[in-house]
């Protein structure tokens, strides 16, 4: 016996196997992201005043990415519709736009990530904060003779071949940003207040704590990276599957077109789900 209903729907359920499979899988994905959203709400509601940042993300880029992802969603259904109309060439073209969109999305996302890693917050010994992009950091070697400009590498680091290692300590950093008296001022700026950005050169002796806006920065950044990272993994996964069906897997169109259409439909369902998650992620992370 062979496995039935791989192509045609079963009479009583009206579904073919893969369709059941993908919806079950999506149900579990709903629980996955649902749990993360619950965690988001919980952490956010529990966060003391002034510790949950607003508008640290780049809203225009986020909006652009939203539009990119929505566009890829329409191309996925249109591609599927083309196959239904037996127009394989059009499917190929439209689906390539989907793939392009996923690429654009990931590129934009990676720029946003990079931006966060370059964004630093310095707590000074006098209690004031400086927040902005790190534009330079100067290191002194152990005998305080050589002075080197480096990408930021912590308060000190050692370098060189074993035995002849050199120890460098931070002398000062330059941050292009603004100064604030409290975290709340940075995280929840009053409506209409615009911080003038300028260069601050901060001596290492002044620094109590320095760190970038990676996931370790606070729980908001943590959940931001976790949610968007997981989402990006889904984008990559979805794009790989769609790309496989579009490219090497397309031979099936000749041998078993109905099954091929089903595959396109199922991968499309997954893709829409990824889009759907983003539809919530965008306002929740960028705007609220």
């Amino acid at each position: 016996m062979d496995i039935p209903y791989t192509v045609h729907p079963r009479a009583d359920t009206g579904l073919y196997n893969a369709k059941v499979g993908i919806w079950l899988f999506l149900a579990s994905e709903v629980m996955l992201f649902g749990a993360l959203f619950s965690s988001y709400i919980l952490l956010r509601v529990g966060a003391p005043d002034g510790t949950w940042p607003h508008s640290v993300l780049n809203i225009p880029l986020g909006t652009l990415n939203t539009i990119v992802l929505i566009s890829s969603s329409i191309t996925v259904v249109l591609a599927w519709a083309s196959l239904k109309l037996n127009n394989f060439a059009r499917y190929r073209v439209i689906q390539s736009i989907t793939l392009l969109c996923s690429l654009i999305f990931l590129v934009i996302k990676s720029f946003e990530y990079r931006d966060k890693f370059a964004h630093y917050q310095v707590v000074q010994k006098d209690g004031k904060y400086v927040d902005g992009h790190l534009t330079g950091s100067v290191y002194l070697d152990a005998d305080k003779k050589t002075r080197e400009e480096h990408g930021f590498r912590g308060l000190s680091f050692t370098e060189g071949p074993k035995g002849a290692q050199k120890k460098f300590t931070l002398e000062s950093v330059t941050v292009n940003g603004f100064e604030a008296k409290s975290l709340a001022e940075i995280n929840n700026p009053k409506v209409g207040v615009h911080h003038e950005h300028k260069d601050f050169k901060i001596a290492a002796a002044q620094i109590k704590k320095i760190g970038n806006y990676g996931p370790w920065h606070n729980t908001y950044m943590a959940i931001y990276f976790t949610l968007t990272g997981l989402h990006a993994l889904h984008v990559i996964g979805g794009a790989l599957v769609i790309g496989y069906i579009w490219g090497p897997g397309a031979a099936m169109w000749k041998t078993d077109p109905e099954r091929y259409i089903n595959r396109v439909e199922v991968s499309g369902l997954f893709w829409h789900f990824v889009d759907l998650v983003w539809i919530f992620l965008f306002p929740v992370l960028y705007l609220l």
């Binding site: 359920t13 009206g14 579904l15 369709k19 059941v20 919806w23 079950l24 149900a27 709903v30 629980m31 649902g34 749990a35 959203f37 619950s38 709400i41 919980l42 509601v45 529990g46 966060a47 003391p48 510790t51 809203i59 909006t63 939203t66 539009i67 929505i70 566009s71 969603s73 329409i74 996925v76 259904v77 249109l78 519709a81 239904k84 109309l85 409506v191 439909e265 499309g268 369902l269 829409h272 789900f273 889009d275 759907l276 539809i279 919530f280 965008f282 306002p283 929740v284 705007l287 609220l288």
Partner: protein, 110 residues
């Protein structure tokens, strides 16, 4: 499957495009609402989540053909939605039902 004959497919394509436009408009309104600074935070949140839900409904309903899906799928999804809401709601509720003289802040202030 929502469409089987070429005619129906053509019709659906028009529907997809309409949905697409609605989604774009929704996005623009959400972002716009953010920039005009609504009078209260609660309102910003309400507007953003409302629009997101409408968008989600459109995507799920039309792009994913949920509007005309089979009963079996509905069953699965209803259960799922029920459990997600249970998880979210009960967790948050239990974090807030601490007897009156307990301080449930999660900060270091004790």
């Amino acid at each position: 499957m929502s469409a089987t004959t070429p005619d129906e497919v053509h019709k659906s394509v028009r529907k997809y495009l309409a949905v697409f436009i609605a989604l774009i408009i929704g996005t623009v309104i959400t972002v716009g609402a953010y920039y005009v600074h609504l009078p209260s935070v609660a309102m910003t949140i309400a507007v953003a989540l409302l629009i997101a839900s409408v968008k989600a409904f459109l995507v799920a309903g039309f792009f994913m053909h949920l509007i005309s899906e089979k009963k079996m799928i509905y069953g699965i999804l209803v259960a799922t939605v029920f459990f997600v809401i249970g998880l979210c709601f009960l967790t948050i509720w239990s974090m807030h039902d601490f007897p009156a003289n307990m301080n449930h802040s999660v900060t270091g202030q004790m």
